[in-house]
Each structure stands twice: as structure tokens, then as C-alpha cells.
């Protein structure tokens, strides 16, 4: 999705932003739209029994796509949580493989995280943040100018791991971006009862690193802030904290009921700040994008959504024996024995049942 295609060339007639080419504007929009539609379809697939559960990201498309597209997916490396569909879209991750995690095929997903430069989906809140720090140190030791980005939420900011990671990054001046999506809620806890002091970005100063708080629903603001942080990282300037203020419009997950902890009015007020609608409006009025662009983007997104749904619906779950195969590089004898016993007992019960 990050590369240009026919539609992007069509869109090149519109004007660019002072610092962002029109083609990038087009790609940002297309990724956001695809993320939105795929996200909605994942919710639908959960309702239809195709996915056992899903964590919707509606409302966070600007934060995710804007930051993901500011990276060089061939050089940098992203460490997602469980809600980073938009980043996956922006970085060109195989979306069927991505969705396979929610479909229950494999923890972490079935895409190739090494090739995608997008770590396996990680469900431990705060847990992957120190990994980004280690990856950044490895990049520094390799004398590359690659950088790592850790995605985490307002809830995750409370975790000890995040503090330790920021401190390490500050001490070693590592090329890493701490990208916090402050989406207002950690399940039922509002961020004002989560983040003492009120701002994750403000914590950066305590580690001697820059921290910026941005409108996370303004994709260009997100893109610029991330691009600047990447630049800082590449040029040896060390880590940055970005706090993108946004909102989780949907439930925490498909088994959550936000009606128990927040008002419809609040949700409504954020729907009015919808990042996709806002960006579309700017593309039309400020940058002169034509209707045909939006039509084509919608059609292209629908093709991907439909293809993803078809593939996910018919996804061949890896054979059961694979649950034994990736635990070690070379499984110890005792584990091979367990695999064989499992195989035998499976056959037995097939015979019996």
C-alpha cells in the first residue's frame, strides 16, 4: 500500500503540501480508508463467527497510518500491540496473515514479521516497548541509520516496562520512537485516571528526550511529527516520545460493552472529529483532490477487504502438529515424543469419536 500505483498517479494532479508530495497525501488517504474498511469488516467477521475476537481501531486511522507511512518499511522496524491494523496497512504487511492472529490461527499472526519489519502482534501491554529499545541498540551497533518505533497506549504508559525502556533509550541515546496513542481509554479507565500529570509526552523531559503531543486525528500532523522523530533518530539525535491524542471510537474489543463506562455523547463528539472525514475534506478543499480519486480509493479498498475476507474465511489453519514445531530451533527429544503421542492420540480419538 505504501507504493504508488495507477490511482496515485491519477491523484498527482492535485497540489502537494509544502513538505509532503501529493502522492504521499494520496497514499495516506488510501491506507486510512483501507484500514477503516478492513477494521469494520473484521468487526463484522467477528459477529459472523469468522473471527473469535477482534480489537477495533476505528478512530485511530490517522495516528496509525500517519506514523507508519513516515517510516521506511524496508529499513525501520515497528513493534505493534494488538490494535495496529493501520500501521500494518501502511507498512504493507500481508493483511490475511495479520488477521490470522485474530482469527485464531497463530499468536502473532501468519505474516512474516522479519520481512515485513513489523513484529508479531503482542498482547502484553507495555511488553514490546523494551524490544524496540533493544532493536534500536542493535541498529546502532550495526552502524545503520535504521530506527525502531514502539506503539503503545495510554494504559501502557503506566507499566514499569515503558519507564525502563525510556530510561534505557535516553541513557544510550538510541534511535527509537515511543509512539503513544492516547485514545482516551484503557478498557474502562479514562486516561485522566490513568496518566498522572495528564500527559505521556510530558514525561519525555524527565528522560532528557523531546516529547511532543499532537492531534492524533490529524494525519498530516502525525506524519510530520513521526518524520521529524525518524530524522532525529537517523542523525544520531536519539529517542523521541510522540503522544498522539486520539479516540477509540469502538469497543475495547468485540467482547467489550463501552456503554458500561462512557456516554454516547462522548463517543458522538469524537465521531465528529473523525480522522478520515477530516482528511478527505482537506484533500478536497485544500489540496484539490477530485471525486474520482475517492471513488477509486474506495473501490481499491473494497477489493482488498473482499479479498482479505475471502482468504480469512477459507484460511487453512496450520496443521495441529505445528504447535510443537516453532518452540525451539531443534525440538528436544522429549518434545518430539510429546508431538508423536499427540499425533497418536489424535488419530485414536478420530477413530473412536
Amino acid at each position: 500500500m505504501a507504493t504508488s500505483d495507477a490511482a496515485a498517479r491519477d491523484a498527482s494532479s492535485p497540489s502537494a503540501a509544502s513538505d509532503i508530495p501529493a502522492e504521499t497525501l494520496a497514499t495516506l488517504y488510501r491506507c486510512m480508508l483501507l484500514a477503516r474498511r478492513l477494521d469494520l469488516d473484521c468487526v463484522a467477521m467477528q459477529r459472523q463467527g469468522i473471527l473469535p475476537g477482534y480489537a477495533p481501531m476505528q478512530g485511530q486511522e490517522a495516528a496509525q497510518v500517519g506514523s507508519g507511512l513516515a517510516l521506511d518499511a524496508g529499513r525501520d522496524f515497528a513493534f505493534p500491540t494488538y490494535r495496529e491494523l493501520g500501521v500494518a496497512v501502511a507498512m504493507g504487511v500481508d493483511l490475511v496473515g495479520y488477521t490470522a492472529s485474530h482469527q485464531g490461527s497463530w499468536h502473532g499472526g501468519l505474516y512474516d514479521p522479519a520481512a515485513s519489519h513489523f513484529a508479531p502482534i503482542n498482547a502484553v501491554v507495555g511488553g514490546p516497548v523494551p524490544h524496540a529499545v533493544g532493536w534500536a541498540m542493535g541498529a546502532q551497533l550495526n552502524r545503520t541509520d535504521a530506527c525502531a518505533i514502539a506503539y503503545f497506549g495510554d494504559g501502557a504508559s503506566s507499566q514499569g516496562d515503558v519507564h525502563e525502556a525510556m530510561n534505557f533509550a535516553g541513557i544510550y541515546r538510541l534511535p527509537v520512537i515511543f509512539f503513544c496513542q492516547n485514545n482516551g481509554w484503557a478498557i474502562s479507565l479514562p486516561s485522566e485516571r490513568q496518566v498522572a500529570g495528564g500527559s505521556v509526552a510530558a514525561r519525555a523531559a524527565g528522560y532528557g528526550m523531546p516529547g511532543v503531543r499532537i492531534d492524533g486525528n490529524d494525519v498530516l500532523a502525525v506524519y510530520r511529527a513521526t518524520r521529524d522523530a525518524v530524522e532525529t533518530a537517523r542523525s544520531g539525535g536519539g529517542p523521541t516520545v510522540i503522544e498522539a491524542m486520539t479516540y477509540r471510537v469502538g469497543p475495547h474489543s468485540t467482547s467489550d460493552d463501552p456503554g458500561r463506562y462512557r456516554s454516547l455523547a462522548e463517543e458522538q463528539s469524537w465521531l465528529e472529529r473523525d480522522p478520515l472525514t477530516r482528511f478527505a475534506a482537506r484533500l478536497r478543499t485544500e489540496f484539490g483532490f477530485a471525486e474520482v480519486f475517492f471513488d477509486e480509493a474506495g473501490a481499491a479498498a473494497d477489493v482488498v477487504v473482499q479479498a482479505t475476507r475471502t482468504a480469512v474465511t477459507t484460511l487453512v489453519v496450520p496443521p495441529g502438529g505445528e504447535m510443537f514445531d516453532f518452540v525451539f530451533s531443534a525440538p528436544p527429544a522429549a518434545l518430539l515424543e510429546q508431538r508423536e503421542a499427540w499425533q497418536r492420540e489424535t488419530q485414536t480419538s478420530q477413530r473412536e469419536g
Binding site: D161, A186, A196, P318
Partner: protein, 355 residues
Amino acid sequence: MTNPTQTQPQPQTQPDETQQTLTQPSRRLLSMQGALNLALDHALAADERTLIFGEDVGTLGGVFRVTDGLQQKYGPQRVFDTPLAEAAIMGMAVGLAMQGWKPIPELQFDGFSYPAVDQIVNQVARMRNRSRGAFSMPITLRLPSFGGIRAPEHHGESLEALFAHVPGLKVVSPSTPAEGYRLLRQAVADPDPVIFMEPKSRYWYKGAVDSADAEPALPVGTSRIVRRGSHVTLIAWGAMVARCLKAAQLGAEDGVEIEVIDLRWLKPIDAEGIAESVSRTKRAVVVHEAPLTAGLGAEVSALVSERCFGDLRAPVGRVTGYDIPYPSQAFEDAYLPSVDRILNAVQRVLEYRRG
């Protein structure tokens, strides 16, 4: 020299209460989730020093609704949400206990108790000992546990072996709503830290609960025979108890009389109770969801061997999860001990011939 583990509390058994009728006014049909909620409600009412806190336990009532309605009823001072930090939740519990409060923290899922392991092992479990009894730690950690609910990674873990190995902790897991009510009241009343492992996959199963049963009858560390049998003893806890009962039913159809023990307390373990059963049946199989190696089944196996050596006709069987990370949804049924695997193991111990 007597083996140091040879004397333990006497086993006491009682009929499976799910088979009793709902005659008394205090008896009602509740899900495990409802029974635990009722136990917490009564615990909060009974002792104003009890406090409930954790992630999403207040306004939301917990992701499994076990604390549903309690904040409304007892106020946001006694039932409150915390920021998202498991170590601090348990560390705060220690400080509250030192002030004379009785904390009932919740950690949202088994797999997210690992960040709190340092506070649990190095602080909760030891503060009483370190202070020579000056500070008791009457903390009940509620931990939604085990697998079977088609959840993502880290939501299907079995940590009983880890916690049972830690001196200073008691560990318990209920298998039915009645047990849930009774054991949770007992855990909260206990002056020492108790890890209360709630079998998630049983939250919505219903059974009769007697809420007048506030004074727990069975002492800490006693197991329960939930089905009598003479050919082999199955030992299990949490959700595996129901599965063993299913296996026993099927076994009976084939003429195999399987005794089923609900171990309940995973520390201290009712070694005497297990031994009493195995000395009658001469054969035992332990069943758990956790991986095989160094699982609590090893301890049960060792205890049975130590106490029933002369009686045993076959080595103690172990039907467990495999030595792999708890797998994703698609593999869950393949991973968890199935009725088939349990019956296969029963068959193995019955057919065992000394080699």
C-alpha cells in the same frame, strides 16, 4: 526417620453439592461468576476492612463481571480501578495490608500476573516472615486462570506450579459455583496470602450455591471426592474436574469405576486425602492444563508414590498440556487434556504390567 511430608490434615469428603436440591432459602442457582460475585459482596459486607481493586474492576465490574455492581454498592473507596500496572497493584496491596486493610486485588488474566511476580514472591509471600509476624498479609489475589475460552495469547495460562513452589503462599482453585463461593470466602478470611485461581472456562456454568455457608466447613488444604470409584483415582482441579467427571461417566459405561478428586487446594496439597483414595484404588492419574514438565502433576505424582508405594499397581499417570506455549484458538482443543486423553491414560494405568 519419618518422611517430612507424611502427616497432613485428614481428608474430609462431602457430596457434590450440584446434585443437591435448592430447598433452603439461602440456596440459589448461580453461575461461577455469580457465585464469586456473591462471595465478594458478602465479604465486603462482613468486614469493612476488605478492599477490591485492580484493572477495570470498578465501573466496568471486571472483564468477567465478577465485581459487577460492587462499586455502586460499596463505593469507590472500597472498590476501585487502578492504573494499568500489575506490580504496583500487588505492591500497593502489601502496603495496605501493613495498614491493617484486607486487600482483594484482581489481576486481569493469568498471563498478566507475570509482571507482578516479583512483588508476589519477594514481598507478598515474605513480608510476614521478614517482619517476624508483625505484619500479616491477608491478601487474596483473584486470578482468572487456565484456558478453554478461545482467547488471544497470554489468556490461557496455568500458574499453579509457579505459585505452589513459593513459600508463604496458599493456592486454591474452585471447580463449581458452590466451591467458588465457599473457597473465596475462606480465602478472604484467611490471614495469609491466597492465590485464588478462577477457572475462566467455568465462569458461566451454573450450580446450586448456599450463601448461608459462610463459615467454610473444610479446612484449608482439604480435597473433595466428587465421585466414588474403585478402579483408579483421577486427581484434578479447576475446569479439569468437570472433564474428569465426564471421563468417569464414560468409563462407568465400560465398567471402569473411576474415583475423581477435586484437589481444590494446590498449596497446601491434601496429600493424606489423595493417599487415602489411592490406597483403595491402587492407581492414579493426575490431570492439569499446564505443561507437563515441572507442573503440579509432578508434585502430586511424587506425593502419591511416597505415600502409596506399596499399594500402587502402576506409575501415576499424568495427562497435561504439552511443553509448548499455550497455543492460539485453533489449537486449543488439541492442547488441552481431552476426555479421550484422560480415558487413554486410565486405560494405560489399568493395563500396566510391571516391566
